[in-house]
Symmetry: C2
Subunit: 443 residues, 2 copies
């Protein structure tokens, strides 16, 4: 565990590869992955080839997705195959799933029948569902089995099992009957049968086709560290561990951030500037469209503005303030939906709250600007026009900001996707229309 | 596990309290907490009083912080005391820590010496550090102890221990010597000593004064499900479980969202509209200030704008587009810093990437607007003025958007706090200055 990232560059440049290999073998795979992140692809692959297969496999899993894909392509195929054979089924499926079809076939043929069958089975599930998250390594036993027998079974399979938090009891059709925590198993007596140990309180059970976002919310809600995954007939298929859930939470938060900004979470896995720009550009077309509409509005009101040039001076302020208020409402609503704080039965309460908050802000800023603009230009009518329209624009922007994500959620579109650029450009147009109409009438 | 939230209102209104109590006793505490969320405080407290003490204690811990505080105040003091006595030490400390000093003393006196001493000890740590997260319930044993002895000790304390993922080996001074997973303990033979079982690979060890954000990043990085907490002399003080880490991740993400929006994460715990508005208002003063500056800029260039009114028509578009580009850079940089993607040694690479992306966007939009504005008004010089200044404004905005969070991180100010309103208002001013200067010169 190092607090500063290890700098591998000097050792690499001086060709001290033995020293480097020795150093790396003492490190946690996550630390090796971190030390690799500033290196270019050639050096990364050179370092990966210095690691033994087991450590290299763990490091590959820890790499960021964008560099993982490149490393996978750059590694000699036989080394990659050995690494995949070492991995847990879920990690192996993630790596193989990102390969080209031909490369995937080659690796699957080489890793052995049982393992390749497992990976193929996992690859059938959508990546963003419970099936895409689960691993097949687990302990399932019959209720008639004794504690002693199960412990022996676990010992025999220990190498492949990884960490265990609980074991599952299934019937002959592999239908899930219950879960026993490792603590209860540890405290049980050897001759007890598993059915005697099953607690009545149900843990979390996840359906294989459940969306990963829903699965993550349940892990959080029920504070569990692992959950069994079942099919529609309640047959046990796999298990999900909480560390994979933390990755899902990060992934979903990434999505919300990137989409609210008017981009796509694909940027995380993208290294080229043109590709990144192409992910952001389409969303800016909303702003471009809104901008064209505002230019027409201003042209339409050109005569009034030309007569009272002072009105023009406050256009940016009205748009900036009402836009900021709208973004606050939109961001806070999107986050509320993501965390479940704005859940069933709380939608209208949340909308009402945003309206009340915006009313306070409309009053405060409307009044302040009436006084400021009026006295700056010694024109009380102008001040009133600016203040009134700012207040009205704030109310409309906050309403658009809060209702847009709720509306998109209702029609099953990601609220974050829709709210950023859609809300800002709608607000631009609405605020300017209000300002131009009130301003030209009053001033 | 219910997928739709239970509606308690009808049963409450009809006064069918026995039925309600029976129904609630079958539910997971997290489901009870969810069913309580749409109720008002009076009904919430009425329902809480129907639960037995153990379940009520668990439900209280699951409630959102804002309603938890109110429920704590509304419950009869003796019931609250019994509930606190039932809780894990970390939850008890959270509840007692939110009480008034007098109420906290009253509860602490009533819950028994050992428990109150534990809670007092935990309350000394900053809430946002490892000490504020840890619980004291854990298993620590000597390396000379046999597996059989430890299992007996665990059995004796089982009730208080909650879930176990591993046990800790300490020396006579309670210095941490190693960790043994429950799986290794389960597979060990009764006569083996613990020191024979300690694995050489170190798990994650957390210092008691580490910031919770850093602790959460380490849990993610090392994929652990629990971690021991030690003091500066490596003495074992407590343990942190991964479900508390998920709460930290959510809390930190909340912070980033609210601060980027120009508000404070306190909103999550705030129910009044005026209080909420007062959390958002101060940040909008940046926009107000920026707005006043833009009004002076426009006044300064009044003559040019009045001569070429067509220039005015494109003010909102230039500001909106460059503002959106700046927000994209700021949001993506803030998220990169939060996830550690923009880590040590990667700051200049990230800044360079944002510059390259913005160059692509400046070229695309600058050219597009030159053509659009030029042909809309049949004035190529005007088109060139708008396009040139939009391109320049985009470059400046993207630079400000990317550098601001990095700068604030460098001076140890939360990047999210600073980036939202600071970046948008700086961009407003910068974009308008560029536009007015280039526009009045060229058009």
């Amino acid at each position: 565990m190092t607090s500063t990232v290890l700098n591998l560059q000097p050792l690499l440049e001086e060709g001290r590869e033995n020293e480097l290999a020795g150093l790396l073998s003492t490190l946690h795979p996550a630390d090796v992955a971190e030390a690799l992140s500033p290196l270019d692809m050639e050096d990364t692959i050179k370092v990966m080839s210095l690691l033994d297969v087991a450590q290299a496999a763990e490091v590959l899993v820890e790499l960021s997705e964008s560099s993982r894909d490149q490393v996978t392509l750059g590694l000699p195929r036989d080394k990659l195959t050995q690494m995949v054979a070492e991995m847990d089924s879920d990690d192996a499926a993630d790596i193989v799933g990102d390969l080209s079809e031909a490369a995937a076939e080659e690796v699957l043929k080489a890793i052995g029948d049982e393992e390749s069958e497992e990976v193929r089975r996992l690859l059938m599930y959508d990546e963003e569902t419970a099936g895409g998250l689960m691993q097949l390594e687990l302990v399932a036993a019959s209720g008639q089995d004794t504690v002693a027998k199960v412990i022996n079974d676990i010992r025999a399979a220990s190498e492949d099992l990884g960490d265990l938090t609980s074991i599952y009891v299934v019937d002959q059709a592999r239908a899930l009957q219950g879960e026993i925590s490792l603590k209860d198993l540890l405290l049980a007596y050897p001759h007890e049968t598993l059915s005697q140990l099953i607690q009545k309180a149900p843990g979390l059970v996840v359906r294989v086709d459940e969306d990963q976002k829903a699965v993550a919310q349940k892990f959080r809600k029920y504070d569990v560290r692992s959950a069994p995954v079942v099919d529609s007939q309640n047959r046990l298929l796999g298990r999900i561990m909480v560390d994979d859930i933390i990755d899902v939470v990060d992934e979903e938060t990434d999505k919300d951030f990137y989409r609210l900004a008017g981009s796509s979470e694909e940027e995380v896995y993208t290294s080229g500037a043109i590709k990144r720009a192409s992910l952001r550009l389409p969303w800016l077309l909303f702003n471009l469209g809104g901008g064209l509409v505002t230019s027409f509005i201003l042209k339409y009101f050109e005569a009034s503005f030309q007569k009272t040039m002072a009105l023009v001076a406050f256009v940016p302020m009205v748009m900036s303030l009402s836009g900021a208020v709208g973004s606050q409402s939109a961001t806070i609503t999107v986050r509320g939906l993501a965390t479940g704080r704005i859940g069933q039965g709380l939608i209208f309460r949340s909308l009402g709250m945003e309206q009340k908050v915006s009313l306070v802000m409309a009053l405060v800023f409307g009044l302040a600007i009436t006084l400021i603009a009026g006295s700056l230009r010694s024109a009380p009518r102008l001040g009133l026009a600016v203040g009134l329209s700012l207040g009205a624009a704030i109310l409309v922007s906050a309403f658009l900001g809060a209702i847009t994500p709720l509306f998109f959620r209702a029609i099953n579109v990601d609220p974050a996707l829709a709210s950023g650029p859609v809300v800002t450009s709608a607000n631009d147009v609405a605020a300017l229309m209000i300002y131009a109409a009130i301003g030209s009438a009053v001033a």
